[in-house]
């Protein structure tokens, strides 16, 4: 039994079959239920966990069809058009689904030509010879109307969907609301209703199903290679390549493992994919645990890009730049795409925002402005983030410090240049936490060069401005 607080009372939200037999039902208050069955076992309902489970199940359901829509709170809508032959028949597909999902869930299913009808028929099973007849025999509750509208329909003696279907629409909509007629149209297939799949459809996808689950990792990888080769042939025919490849392994006990390979340029080279795949598997934090084995592998190319026909290499060395791009792919796959980066300039005077580091796999490139000629480096090679506080003995306000202490070491300033004033943009006031900074390039007596700044203008923004070390020069 699950309970939650609804309308100021502790109510049952779900009941197990045994409880239903005892006459309990969802919607009852907990006090009533306890009065009937004193030794009731209840748990707090957790809708968030239910939603997560539903999303997981919808991922799992991709094994039956690529178009799956989670139907909260407790349903999955699967578009099986064109998928049934893979399993033999509709009934075989359903049996497969019930067998997999039914291990620890109570499962009901129905086939229908519209999502609404399937939804209703799964929840209100009726005996009928054809789909239309079944829909007409559905109770009005199948329309999923607000309680008031449903009660009104029942009071008017309209108990079944068929009673409504024969009547003209206008009076129905006038009396019971537009919602009622819309729901009716959707159920009867008169209005357009479609699924919005949870995952965008990949441009290409391939699957391999095994009669017996395979538990040997090398065999699994070999099977993935086979799919990659298949994908590569199709891509070649289309003069296309992919930059990311999603592999999903379905374990026979309902677990999923996802592997993604990304490359810097579009590719369709099965040998390269095979190598990257092995590196990806090697780099997994927890190893690819086959458990009782994988029984289905899907290989998807989420998006394709044009890639011309390639002539086989005559030279052993390969084309210029290709080795570098392959290196970036390798390192990114092995260590993670966020770890191999490129630095891009950003138009900002605030030093810590002047650089953006982006994954090297991405497209982003930008030209760096050339440094001014005839000057020493005006920016440090290493930057502290956040800046390090230092203790400074400045002799006069608005002058470089004479002496400062950083990490307990005293530095005597011999040379200094500055200030270079970096103020907050005019649309931000200094009082809003971004005081003006005065930067100084200084050199100490040991010959080290530092980049210091004073935070806040003396007397205006801060009574006693604090000093920071922001970077080190070569």
């Amino acid at each position: 039994m699950l309970v939650a607080t609804e309308r100021n009372a502790r109510r049952l939200t779900a009941a197990c079959p045994q409880a239903l037999k005892l006459g309990l039902a969802a919607g009852m208050t907990l006090a009533d239920a306890l009065a009937r069955v004193p030794d009731l076992c209840v748990e707090e309902a957790d809708p968030a966990a239910d939603a997560r489970l539903l999303l997981h199940l919808s991922d799992l359901a991709l094994r039956w069809s690529p178009i799956v829509q989670p139907d909260p709170p407790d349903g999955l809508l699967i578009d099986i058009a064109g998928c049934t032959h893979l399993f033999g028949s509709e009934a075989a597909l359903a049996a497969d689904a019930v067998a997999l999902l039914g291990r620890n869930l109570a499962v009901r299913h129905a086939f229908a030509s519209t999502p609404s009808a399937a939804h209703a028929l799964a929840r209100f099973p009726v005996q009928a010879s054809c789909e239309m007849q079944a829909i007409r025999r559905l109770p009005v509750a199948a329309l999923r109307l607000p309680v008031e509208a449903e009660t009104a329909l029942r009071r008017a003696g309209l108990k079944h969907v068929g009673d409504l279907a024969d009547r003209p629409t206008m009076p129905l909509s006038a009396r019971f609301g537009k919602q009622a007629t819309h729901a009716l149209d959707r159920l009867l297939g008169r209005a357009d209703s479609r699924l919005s799949p949870r995952r965008p459809l990949p441009a290409l996808h391939f699957a391999r199903r095994f009669a017996e689950p395979i538990a040997h990792v090398d065999s699994v990888l070999g099977a993935v290679d086979g799919l990659a080769a298949k994908a590569s042939r199709v891509l070649e025919q289309r003069h296309q390549g992919g930059r990311s490849f999603a592999i999903r392994l379905y374990r026979s006990d309902g677990e999923l493992r996802d592997l993604t390979i990304e490359t810097g340029r579009p590719t369709r080279d099965p040998a390269l994919l095979a190598r990257l795949l092995r590196e990806r598997v090697e780099a997994l934090a927890d190893p690819l645990d086959p458990g009782f084995g994988f029984d289905l592998i899907r290989f998807a190319v989420p998006a394709t890009e044009p890639l011309g026909l390639l002539q086989a290499d005559l030279e052993a060395r390969g084309r210029q730049g290709e080795a570098l791009s392959a290196l970036v792919d390798r390192l990114s796959v092995r260590h993670g795409r966020e770890r191999i980066r490129r630095l891009l300039p950003v138009e900002s005077h605030v030093p810590e925002r002047a650089v953006r580091s982006v994954p090297a796999l991405g497209e982003a490139r930008a030209e760096w402005p050339p440094p001014p000629t005839g000057e020493p480096p005006l920016r440090p090679i290493c930057l502290f983030d956040p800046p390090q506080p230092i203790i400074v003995m400045a002799e006069v306000p608005d002058a470089p410090p004479r002496r400062f202490i950083w990490r307990g070491v005293n530095h005597i300033v011999v040379r200094a240049e500055g200030p270079e004033r970096i103020a907050a943009p005019w649309w931000q006031k200094a009082s809003e936490g971004r005081p003006t900074r005065d930067y100084y390039r200084v050199e100490d007596e040991a010959g080290r060069r530092f980049w210091l700044f004073r935070r806040g203008l003396t007397g205006r923004e801060a009574a006693h401005p604090s000093w920071y070390l922001h970077g080190l020069f070569a």
Binding site: R334, P376, L383, A474
Partner: protein, 264 residues
């Protein structure tokens, strides 16, 4: 049999070639330092070799990092800089600063890896890629797996692919390694610009080891515009005048980021 040559190094190279262990390349000309004295003593920064750089003191990492960036500029090509995430968190490599030294960040790939072992592994990968110009492998302290074997592996990979490897050893003491040269870098006082402003990056560079035998020590400065090292010649120090001469306006920002040299 050529093995009767007198030079033992040549003999070893020949034996290795016979064994087919490494496809040895003929040594290519070094990129050089743009400084005759150093080039003569150190083999002019040979490409396809492993060079080790040590900061002379543990609290001066920027000097050695800057020196590595300058060597990357001299060597040219794509630079792959590998470092540990810990180092990048504490002291990030700053694009505008690299650009100020003359290394265009556009030619830089930065690998920020979780630990020293990952850096070593990635380093071996990078050194095998012939399209890379320089690989900077930055390691802090003394990683357990960095020894003669690891450096030998780097050296062989560098020789095979022609990629120059710079092993930047922060806060570390030199230990046995297969590097071709070993340098110690210390920041020293620069030649002051007008107004006693800090000048171009200046170093004391010491050649600790060279397989060819040379040793030496030089005081240099880096000229970004000609991308070369020069002897540091001290001009007379400008006597520091006490006190500020021009005060800075308090109510507005001083014009842009145009370098502004204040006397005093």
């Amino acid at each position: 049999m050529h093995a009767e040559t007198d030079d033992p190094r040549e003999r070893i190279r020949h034996l290795l070639r016979l064994a087919g262990a490494v496809p040895l390349r003929e040594r290519s000309a070094g990129a050089g330092f743009g400084h005759a004295g150093i080039d003569a003593a150190s083999g002019a920064l040979e490409r396809g070799q492993l060079h080790e750089l040590f900061p002379a003191s543990a609290d001066d990492p920027a000097g050695a990092a800057g020196f590595a960036a300058m060597l990357c500029r001299r060597l040219g090509g794509t630079c792959v800089w590998l470092r540990e995430a810990k180092a990048e968190r504490q002291l990030q490599l700053f694009g505008p600063g690299l650009s100020g030294i003359g290394l265009d960040p556009e030619n830089l790939l930065l690998g920020v890896l979780p630990d020293a072992d990952a850096v070593l592994r990635a380093g071996a990968d990078v050194l095998r890629c012939p399209d890379v110009g320089v690989a900077v492998i930055e390691l802090w302290r003394n990683p357990r797996n960095l020894g003669l074997t690891a450096t030998r592996r780097f050296q062989l990979a560098a020789e095979a692919s022609g990629v120059t490897a710079l092993l930047l050893r922060m806060e570390a003491e030199p230990s046995a390694s297969a590097a071709a040269t070993r340098w110690s870098v210390r920041s020293i006082a620069s030649r002051a610009l007008e107004g006693n402003a800090p000048g171009r990056p200046a170093f004391e560079l010491e050649l600790l080891k060279h397989r060819g035998g040379g040793r030496g020590s030089w005081r240099l400065e880096w000229d970004r515009d000609s991308a070369s090292f020069r002897d540091l010649q001290h001009t007379h120090d400008h006597a520091a005048l006490p006190g500020a001469v021009v005060s800075v306006p308090a109510d507005r920002a001083v014009a842009d980021v145009v370098p502004f040299r204040k006397a005093g």
